[in-house]
């Protein structure tokens, strides 16, 4: 019983400890780092599920670190929202760990692999630490763990551009973290506490204080930088494009989501919703910005020729959806936003994993390289199709579920003019995704040679028609994510139940 009670801290300390152990034991067996990473992330996933179940039963878990009572010590406060995000993050981490072996073997120098896995674990630990904690300064500390790890992971990319992308991210990420630090400073000056629950109690009396306003402004800007909200997204495309495939997967699927979580927690958990709406029009500003993000992100994505860069810009657009749903601040939209955290993690994770498979097999990152790929990698391309349709928001995929809720939420908020924005985002993503899907199944011909068919009706092989699929260790996890894209698209009741509870809780 005792250990179950301590699960909230074990989910952080165990991966942290093993991240530290990985470099020590790597010299014994080459595969050991990967085995540890997979096992431990699986453990985290199981733990997060059990935490989720506990939360659903009891409402809220509070764990006092060091046994100190909350406003004095650090508290782990797990409620519906972070239990949900924690489950998403640990699940994606587990799937990506399973996937990572072959891809890392190919893309990372052998002697760097143990350090790579160590950093990878630290990255995940940092993200989970941000999610689980109930202390605002602790968020900063874990944010920095994950950020530092993230910089190094991105810099592992094969091209030298990765270094520059990583450096740009480092500068912007550090400015963001310092902004958050300033926000913490102001809010601490105003209230004298760092505990989120305590802040929530003490802040309403201070809503007229200019310090609190400034703190909110700095939190918003800092977190927007971290989660790559539209005009502050500049670091993201480069980072996702040049990072190794595995890193792109894990970052696209989890890092920005955790940023969104932190934003939700701080804007809605710390500052109450009444404050956001009545005292400064931060909600309105964010609605405008996120609408721009939806349109601009998708529009930029259309212009790309590099597959990963296209997906990165598409992430910028999708983050717009999440933020838009959140700042509409009604139950339907908030539910949509929270469930889109899961949904986008699933589909973007699947898409980046597909790119990883393609890179593993062919080394191609260009969109034009996918021409006629359905013969060569039918399963991978099927996953791409499923996840792509999901991005387009086609019904029976997860993309539809979140869009539905956000749109209904926009209408409930009386903002019918957001419907065209949401729809346009969908249509634009249809443009960049469908274009590729068509090329995959109906290859465009290279100039200068005619279509040729054999008697049986199949096309004469060109260089791509040879069946050559990625190894199963990569394909399996990828297909699992795609399957979930469909499963949660057909029956979204389970995640919706949690997302709705989280939304209700945030909007109280």
């Amino acid at each position: 019983m005792k250990t179950i009670q301590d699960l909230p801290v074990l989910i952080i300390v165990i991966p942290l400890g093993f991240a530290v152990i990985i470099p020590l034991v790597a010299r014994f067996n080459r595969l050991l780092p990967w085995i540890i990473a997979s096992t431990i992330t699986f453990f985290c996933f199981l733990t997060s599920i059990s935490l989720l179940i506990t939360v659903l039963e009891t409402g809220k878990i509070s764990y006092w670190l060091g046994g100190w009572e909350p406003p004095w010590g650090i508290e782990y406060a797990i409620d519906y929202l972070n239990a949900f995000v924690l489950a998403v993050v640990s699940f994606i981490a587990f799937i990506v760990s399973l996937y990572s072996r072959r891809s890392v073997e190919m893309e990372i120098n052998e002697y760097k692999q143990s350090a790579f896995y160590s950093i990878y674990m630290l990255f995940i630990t940092g993200l989970m630490g941000i999610v689980i904690t109930g202390d605002i300064f602790n968020i900063y500390v874990f944010l920095e763990i994950s950020s530092l790890a993230g910089y190094a992971l991105i810099a592992m990319g094969r091209k030298r551009d990765a270094l520059v992308a990583s450096y740009n991210y480092l500068i912007l990420g550090t400015i963001a973290a310092t902004f958050i630090l300033i926000g913490i400073g102001y809010i601490y000056t105003a209230t004298g506490t760092l505990n989120i629950a305590d802040l929530q109690e003490r802040l309403p009396a201070l809503f007229h204080s200019k310090m609190v306003l400034v703190a909110l402004a700095f939190f918003t800007v800092g977190l927007s930088l971290k989660l790559a909200l539209f005009p502050l997204h500049t670091w993201l495309p480069g980072a996702y494009t040049h990072a190794p495939s595995v890193v792109s997967c894990i970052m696209a699927a989890t890092a920005t989501k955790v940023g969104v979580y932190a934003m939700l927690r701080i804007i809605f958990g710390v500052f109450k919703i009444e404050f956001d709406i009545h005292f400064i029009p931060i909600a309105n500003i964010l609605i405008v910005i996120s609408s721009m993000a939806i349109i601009a992100g998708s529009a930029f994505a259309i212009a790309q020729t590099n597959l990963k860069r296209m997906l990165a810009y598409s992430s910028v657009g999708q983050i717009g959806y999440i933020v838009l749903g959140a700042v509409l601040a009604n139950q339907a939209a908030m539910t949509g936003s929270i469930i889109h955290i899961l949904n986008h993690a699933l589909m973007k994770g699947a898409l980046f994993m597909v790119v990883g498979c393609i890179v593993y097999k062919t080394g191609i990152e260009d969109i034009s390289g996918l021409n006629g790929m359905s013969k060569k990698m039918p399963f991978t391309m099927a996953v791409f199709t499923v996840a792509g349709l999901s991005m387009m928001g086609v019904p029976l995929t997860v993309g539809f579920v979140s869009k539905w809720y956000i749109a209904i939420g926009a209408l409930n908020a009386g903002m019918w003019y957001l419907i065209p924005v949401i729809i346009t985002g969908s249509l634009l993503s249809a443009v960049y995704i469908w274009r590729i899907i068509v090329n995959i199944y109906f290859p465009e011909e290279f100039p200068g040679h005619e279509l040729q068919y054999t008697d049986g009706g199949t096309r004469i092989t060109d260089h791509k028609s040879q069946y050559s699929e990625a190894p199963w260790s990569m394909l399996g996890p990828t297909m699992a994510l795609a399957a979930l894209c469909i499963y949660f698209g057909i029956s979204a009741t389970a995640p919706l139940y949690i997302a709705e509870k989280a939304a209700v809780m945030l909007l109280q």
């Binding site: 300064f137 900063y140 500390v141 920095e144 530092l148 910089y151 190094a152 810099a155 030298r160 551009d161 270094l163 520059v164 990583s166 450096y167 480092l170 500068i171 550090t174 400015i175 973290a177 310092t178 630090l181 300033i182 913490i184 400073g185 601490y188 000056t189 760092l194 260009d366 290279f446 100039p447 200068g448 040679h449 060109d462 260089h463």
Partner: protein, 141 residues
């Protein structure tokens, strides 16, 4: 007028801190040199530390190390936070420097403009390669 003077008198510490922060931030944003950016960001962060420490100061307080009863102590919590923040700052600097060294090794420069120029060259070269590849493909089939 008196208000402003009073404001400056009572809060000059914070104002200087903000000035320092902005100097650091400006260096970070506007400089085109990678190391200069790091210097800027260090100044920025250290100024934020001063903000925390200034806020922890209590009039007639002493350092928060217990030595006698009935003494006024400064607020120890910001000190603790800043200890952590300093560590974070030096870690970031170390990683950034490692990146810069690698960038210099790959590009031979630590100026953003130089790097951009080289990236552009890379891209052009890639496009040329791609064209060549396309020509190869069409000639083969």
């Amino acid at each position: 007028m008196i208000d402003i003077i009073h404001f400056i008198q009572t809060k000059y510490y914070y104002l200087v801190v903000i000035l320092l922060m902005m100097l650091g931030l400006y260096t970070t944003i506007s400089s085109r040199n990678l190391i200069k950016k790091i210097i800027g960001i260090n100044i920025f962060q250290i100024s934020v530390f001063l903000f925390y420490i200034a806020m922890a100061k209590v009039k007639h307080g002493t350092a928060p190390i217990l030595w006698d009863k009935g003494v006024v102590y400064d607020n120890p919590l910001p000190h603790v936070l800043i200890l952590t923040a300093i560590v974070v700052s030096v870690s970031t600097t170390a990683v950034a420097l490692a990146l810069i060294i690698n960038i210099h090794k790959e590009y031979g420069t630590i100026e953003e403009d130089g790097i951009l120029a080289k990236q552009k060259l890379d891209e052009e070269w890639m496009n040329l390669e791609k064209q060549k590849l396309d020509i190869d493909r069409s000639s083969v089939t």
